[in-house]
């Protein structure tokens, strides 16, 4: 009985072993993106732009290295600027072939370093902070051609650092903005949705793939 159970558990491993090795790995992609930041503590929605490059290390594992610049309007009285520099690991649990017309869903998780600054519009008073964050989410690639894809990602980013936020208060019909930075470190989160265009430029492991073909 134990042998039957062990054999049943090993069956999926045999299935994965049948996949062609390294066929999709080694690709270098470069892309640009636009970002929407929602569910912020301020309650405002930010808009940004950025870029990324991807290095696919295995058939089912890709890495994404990105930079974003996001601005947010806080009630017309203050503005927030966020800079993200980070990386994510993308895992493809279903299909992993990136060919024309294919939709390739993925799960992602990663880490980033951030800089945030909130400035009042009237007198230019500002507070800023550096922090670190972790992110996780879901996404998908849609391949317009074999080498070009449009990717849509939704991820939740949790910042670990001193909380920095702005509050808009209404006193006798007049709006005021109050910026504060909490001296105690905590967790501050928001949702990021990004749409990116990516182009596969070259195969980093071209020689490795050529050698495998000649064998």
């Amino acid at each position: 009985m134990k042998k039957i159970i062990l054999f049943a558990l090993l069956l999926p491993v045999m299935g994965i072993a049948q996949e062609p090795l390294d066929k999709e790995s080694g690709y270098f992609q470069l892309g640009v993106r636009n970002v929407i930041s929602t569910f912020n503590d301020d309650g405002a929605t930010g808009f940004g732009m950025g870029g990324q490059f991807r290095i696919r290390v295995l058939n089912r594992i890709n890495t994404d290295w990105y930079a974003d610049y996001i601005t947010t309007d806080i009630g017309g009285l203050a503005r927030r600027e966020d800079v993200h520099l980070g990386w994510s690991v993308l895992a493809y649990p279903f299909n992993y072939h990136t060919t024309k017309g294919k939709i390739t869903p993925y799960i992602l998780a990663g880490h980033c370093f951030d800089y945030s600054k909130v400035t009042t519009n009237d007198n230019g008073f500002s507070l800023d902070k550096f922090s670190s964050a972790v992110q996780f989410g879901l996404g998908m690639h849609y391949n317009i051609t074999d080498r070009t894809d449009v990717s849509l990602t939704a991820q939740y980013m949790m910042h670990m650092g001193k909380d920095l936020h702005a509050e808009v208060e209404n006193v006798d019909g007049v709006k005021f903005v109050h910026i504060e930075k909490n001296p105690v470190r905590g967790i501050e989160g928001h949702m990021l949705i990004n749409v990116s265009l990516n182009v596969r430029l070259f195969d980093m492991w071209d020689q490795h793939h050529k050698r495998k073909k000649t064998v």
Binding site: V32, R33, N34, V35, F47, G48, M49, G50, Y69, I70, T71, T72, D73, G76, R79, T119, N121, D122, G124, I144, T145, R147, T148, L197, V199
Partner: protein, 227 residues
């Protein structure tokens, strides 16, 4: 005398008839050549194009008109996808927001890709998406000058970087080996946030057309038929 006039008329008729036949032959030949062109898509990998043009814009949320000078360079990865980089410099704007805020600078760079719809011939319609970054600055306009000698007082605010995105449709028509006509309309999205009392929406509709230049930088490798 009458015979000479008759001969002259015959000669004229012959010339007119021959001219008509030549014109008909020329037109038919032209359509044959044109028909040959229409079966083959002109654009393919390794095509590079560039253009500089004047762009008219309208910030419809703020009711402002703008004029930009725009330059772009594009490289075709294949006959469906090209990568384009663009830069835009605002020459001037007309109008103020409801809070008397005007737009002094709106200069931007964009990088993105265009999808080219399949066609047969030299007509090349496309859809383009480009994220970008803009340098924007604004000013607050003071009360109108009371006399011709007085200048209207303006308070200028420092410039800021504003993320933008643009989507557009257009077409190129490659009528020459090194030149083409183009026309494009696009929508720009962004927000100018600065020390000004209120933000300025950068949502804009832009239209441009003109003459561009193109070159195939490499010959496309033809696939040899397999035996």
């Amino acid at each position: 005398m009458k015979s000479k006039i008759h001969d002259l008329n015959n000669f004229k008729n012959k010339v007119v008839s021959k001219t008509k036949n030549l014109i008909i032959l020329f037109v038919c030949f032209s359509t044959v050549v044109f028909a040959q062109q229409e079966h083959t898509q002109y654009i393919h990998k390794h095509l590079m194009r560039a253009d500089v043009s004047v762009v008219g814009g309208y910030l419809f949320k703020e009711g402002m008109k703008t004029v930009h000078i725009d330059g772009s360079a594009e490289y075709y990865l294949d006959n469906k996808i090209s990568v384009r980089g663009s830069a835009s410099y605002m020459l001037g704007s007309n109008g103020l927001t409801k809070d008397s805020i005007g737009l002094k600078d709106f200069h931007s760079i964009y990088l993105g890709a265009a999808y080219h719809f399949p066609t047969k011939g030299h007509f090349d319609p496309y859809f383009i998406l480009q994220p970008g970054l803009a340098y924007t600055s604004s000013y607050k306009s003071g009360p109108p000058a009371l006399t011709a000698e007085d200048e209207q007082i303006r308070k200028y605010y420092p410039g800021v970087l504003s993320p933008v995105a643009t989507a557009g449709v257009g077409f190129n028509y490659y009528f020459q080996r090194f030149a083409h006509l183009f026309m494009e309309t696009r929508y720009v999205y962004g927000m100018h946030l600065s020390q000004a009392p209120s933000p300025i929406s950068l949502q804009e509709l832009r239209v441009t057309f003109g003459l561009g230049f193109n070159l195939f930088i490499m010959k496309e490798k033809k696939k040899l038929p397999t035996a």
